[in-house]
């Protein structure tokens, strides 16, 4: 009975989370939804006499893999939301058909099967429980596959390093180079630090120049956009104008990029 309740609750939760994963516009939400699904599954594993897997699921998936996902999301840019316009003709329609059909087929297949009452893994676990029993299998019958997975993991680690490694294409800048770049550049003086003349030292507070005006370079664009989306406007009209200017510039660039993108896709067709 307990299992049934757990199942139904978690089934509803995991399916809705999976749907959320697919349908949420923002990648971060998707990631979180995936976390929910994984956690639900971990519980379902536990319910099904697989405590070890449940633990591994939480540790490896929810802990490590999800972290990686989030990390990369942050790296790639958390602020970009997917465009909802489908560019491949018929893709969405056929994807729906295929998805539904596939689900229906599998579900039908599974539903039509008549199972004897589950045997449960208790019998094979004997004394010592799930983990030693698994360990015994892993290190006896499947030891070769296990060793292979270790090799796989090492290879993957190496591969990730190689892939993510950025080759230095020009010599490392010396102090002399930096100095020259600075004095030949438009601004020899250091950039104003946030809050140099500020009343706050928070990151959302732009720096003031010695004359008291706001330095446009110090406006945090991400925060500014969030604030704007939330409807928060700086009270100072000068600062508001500056913020708007920065945001507009950003939007213009984004639109520009989107337009080029669309043009490319148009070309592709």
């Amino acid at each position: 009975m307990g299992e049934t309740i757990t199942f139904w609750v978690l089934a509803v939760v995991s399916v809705s989370a999976a749907l959320g994963l697919v349908f949420s516009r923002k990648a971060v939400y998707s990631a979180l939804m995936l976390g929910v699904v994984m956690l639900s599954l971990a519980v379902l594993y536990a319910v099904q006499d697989a405590p070890f897997l449940a633990a591994v699921q939480i540790i490896v998936y929810t802990g490590a893999v999800m972290m990686l996902f989030l990390f990369v999301l942050m790296l790639v840019g958390v602020d970009s939301a997917d465009s909802l316009v489908e560019t491949i003709k018929g893709q969405r329609f056929w994807a729906t058909i295929a998805g539904l059909g596939f689900a229906a087929l599998l579900a039908l297949g599974a539903g039509n099967m008549v199972f004897a009452p589950a045997k449960g893994v208790g019998a094979v676990q004997e004394a010592g429980g799930n983990v030693p029993a698994l360990a015994q299998l892993i290190f006896t019958r499947h030891v070769f596959a296990f060793e292979i997975t270790s090799a796989l993991l090492i290879t993957a680690a190496l591969g990730a390093m190689v892939l993510a490694h950025r080759e230095r294409v020009r010599p490392k800048a010396t102090q002399r180079d930096l100095a020259r770049a600075r004095f030949t550049g438009p601004q020899p003086s250091p950039l104003p630090g946030p809050g140099t003349y500020a009343l706050h030292n928070a990151i959302d507070m732009p720096a003031l120049l010695p004359d008291g005006s706001v330095s446009p370079q110090s406006i945090n664009r991400v925060l500014a956009r969030h604030e704007q989306e939330d409807g928060v406007r700086p009270t100072d009209p000068v600062k508001a104008a500056l913020v708007k200017q920065v945001i507009d510039k950003d939007v213009a660039i984004e639109e520009d990029v989107a337009a080029t993108e669309a043009a490319h896709q148009e070309d592709a067709k």
Binding site: T4, F7, A11, V15, A18, L21, V22, A27, S30, A31, L34, L41, L44, Y45, D49, A50, F52, L53, V60, Y61, A64, V65, L68, F69, V72, V76, S80, D82, T87, I88, Q91, A95, A98, G99, L100, F102, A103, L106, A107, G109, A110, G111, M113, F115, A118, K119, G120, V121, L134, L137, I138, A145, T149, L152, A156, A157, G159, A160, L163, A164
Partner: protein, 98 residues
């Protein structure tokens, strides 16, 4: 009960599959793939219990390991592509065609 688990697994798998098809953000696509793998794992675990041996659990374990490796490499590739193309959309990487 087994049937229920299997149907749930099937649903999750199909949702994951549909997600792969409709989402363009590579990272989200990846997540959907992970979802499909997890759905499979659920089926494995269910069958392990049904048949009363641990092989299903074992294979689920291996799937996790492989998935972990895959995520590492996959994400590294995504990062690399993003670096060069400033985009994480799978549709942008369409040069290998015709």
């Amino acid at each position: 009960m087994t049937t229920h688990y299997l149907v749930l697994s099937a649903l999750l798998f199909a949702i994951g599959g549909a997600g792969v098809l409709v989402r363009r953000n590579a990272i989200v696509v990846f997540m959907c793939v992970e979802l499909m793998l997890n759905a499979c794992n659920l089926a494995f675990v269910t069958f392990a219990r049904q048949h009363g041996n641990l092989d299903g659990q074992l294979i689920a374990f291996f799937v996790m390991v492989v998935a972990a490796a895959e995520v590492v490499i996959g994400l590294a590739i995504i990062v690399m592509i993003f670096r060069t193309r400033r985009s994480a959309s799978v549709d942008d990487a369409n040069l290998l065609k015709y």
